[in-house]
Amino acid sequence: MSNKTAYDKVRLARANNRPTGKDYIDAMFDGFFELHGDRRYGDDPAIVAGLAKLMDMPVTVIAIEKGRSARERAFRNFGAPNPEGYRKALRLMRQAEKFKRPVVCFVDTSGAYCGIGAEERGQGQAIAENLMTMMTLKTPVISVLVGEGGSGGALALAVADRVWILENAVYSVISPEGCASILWKDASRAAEAAASLKLTSEDILSFGVADKIIPEKELGKGDFYLGLKTMLYEELSGLKVLPLESLLEARFARFRRLGTEGLLET
């Protein structure tokens, strides 16, 4: 698809001029009404979520927001969610289930936040609960990986009926820097690690982890958004008419088969 190296793509995925979560909401959805808080502890500015219309379809939209200016990036915690962010997302997904609204997630994070408070409030438990609940959520879910897909912090919003990935987005179990420093005690070998981790959109598609690559032609411009908006609308319209049982069975099967091809049974 391109001659960019894996690490070039990591850089592109992280680039500050890339559209962020809120850009997608503003450009493709109408009447966005933001909803705050997890009803347990607080509100996490790293996750922006609420109600909106995708053309004529009411949806719940959830986006990880990195922020753009230095000030906003600090406010958004650079897009690294705390447990209350995941719990806010979960609350709104359950609400979507109740009111039979489809859910659209935009994922862009270097990972769940590694902080003292995050651990005190159960970062691992929050992610685990999202995985379990999203697997059985009785409404269609589409997750779009738009930038960095950082490990469990990204997966916590990407257990979905359809997972799409932008051409230059990446999805990885660990950051290339983290991988290089564990394996070779040398974070500067990140480029090598990025290639080994097979984290580019083509890799993610070939493993069956994503179902579709969204081309980045005109990224952030009108036609790009219009194209993605149309795809989302058509896909959700198709998913909405499926019997609930087949929707959930297919979602389960989608994740059940992952990793089975790389196994050896002796």
Binding site: C114, E119, A128, L131, K198, F252, R256, T260, E265
Partner: protein, 293 residues
């Protein structure tokens, strides 16, 4: 013997050890080891005879998976499943093949989890025990598949699952597909749970990363061993990210109990009785087999 759910056993340790500790042998011919907690030299035979715990301070030494199975399952009741299911190095990840080969050769296990069916205190259940000496219990595709299948077998047989976790997290050498095992195992747990079946998990040292963020935190009841490190992010990463000194006892079992993320801390000396008793709570009292111990 009544079950003792000990809260904050570290305070007991801080007080200078249990009063009832047997005298430490000074026999110089006997192989011994220094306890990392109280620093006393303890003969290995005494540690082994004491649930792999220090006879002076109660520190819980790491156990391998087979030792744990022998310790928790009724004798001769364990039947292993999927023992031949292993990871291929499907990404040709640098150094992974050699690492697998040397690990298999040195430890005897071929993957980081052992699954099967067992009786515990006479109650039939699925049992998975992670192996700290196999790449620190890291979860790759084989670990995920073995655990997923165990939950599926037990859902079909309508049996509870008992799991012992110890893990550094997802196995990076298997890339994104190791991350997907978090979703896959969670799906299997969700189905087992939806069938009304009981899942008991015991968190042991250390339980971190992708395992904490999936099936370790999805038990109906979550127990932990005293002093076990339990958390999502690594302590060193948190220190580097926040540039703050971590509070004392951060990410221990006791810390998790204080913050409401585990149900109880159960030392090994009363663990088998605790697990058996909790299993019996979920069998409607219909235990037909003989009770061990």
């Amino acid at each position: 013997m009544p079950i003792r759910f000990i809260r904050k056993p570290q305070n007991e340790l801080e007080k200078g050890g249990r009063q009832s500790a047997p005298p430490v042998s000074a026999d110089e011919n006997e192989p011994s080891t220094a306890c990392p907690n109280c620093r006393k030299q303890i003969p290995l035979s005494q540690i082994w005879g004491n649930f792999h715990c220090c006879t002076s301070c109660g520190h819980h030494f790491r156990m391998n998976a087979r030792q744990r199975i022998n310790f928790i399952a009724d004798s001769d009741s364990f039947i292993e499943t999927d023992s031949g299911l292993v990871s291929r190095d499907f990404m040709s990840f640098p150094g992974y093949r050699q690492k697998l080969d040397t690990t298999i050769k040195s430890g005897g296990e071929n993957e980081a989890v052992i699954c099967g069916e067992a009786s515990i205190g006479g109650v039939r259940c699925g049992l998975f025990v992670m192996e700290p000496y196999f790449m620190m219990g890291s979860m790759g595709t084989a670990v995920g598949e073995r655990i997923t299948r165990l939950f599926e077998y037990m859902t079909a047989k309508r049996l509870p699952v008992v799991g012992y976790t110890v893990s550094g997290g997802a196995r990076m050498q298997e890339g994104i597909l190791s991350l997907m095992q978090m979703a896959k195992t969670s799906a299997a747990v969700a189905r087992h749970s939806a069938a009304g079946l009981f899942y008991l998990v015991v968190l042991t040292d250390p339980t971190t990363g992708g395992v904490t963020a999936s099936f370790a935190m999805e038990g109906d009841i979550i127990l932990a061993e005293p002093g076990a490190v339990i958390g999502f992010a690594g302590a060193r990463v948190i220190e580097q990210t926040t540039r703050k000194k971590l509070p004392q006892g951060f990410q221990t079992a006791e810390f998790c109990l204080d913050h409401g993320f585990v149900d109880a801390i159960v030392p090994r000396s009363s663990q088998k009785q605790a697990v058996a008793s909790l299993l019996r709570f979920h069998t409607g009292g219909a235990v037909t087999n003989e009770h061990e111990q």
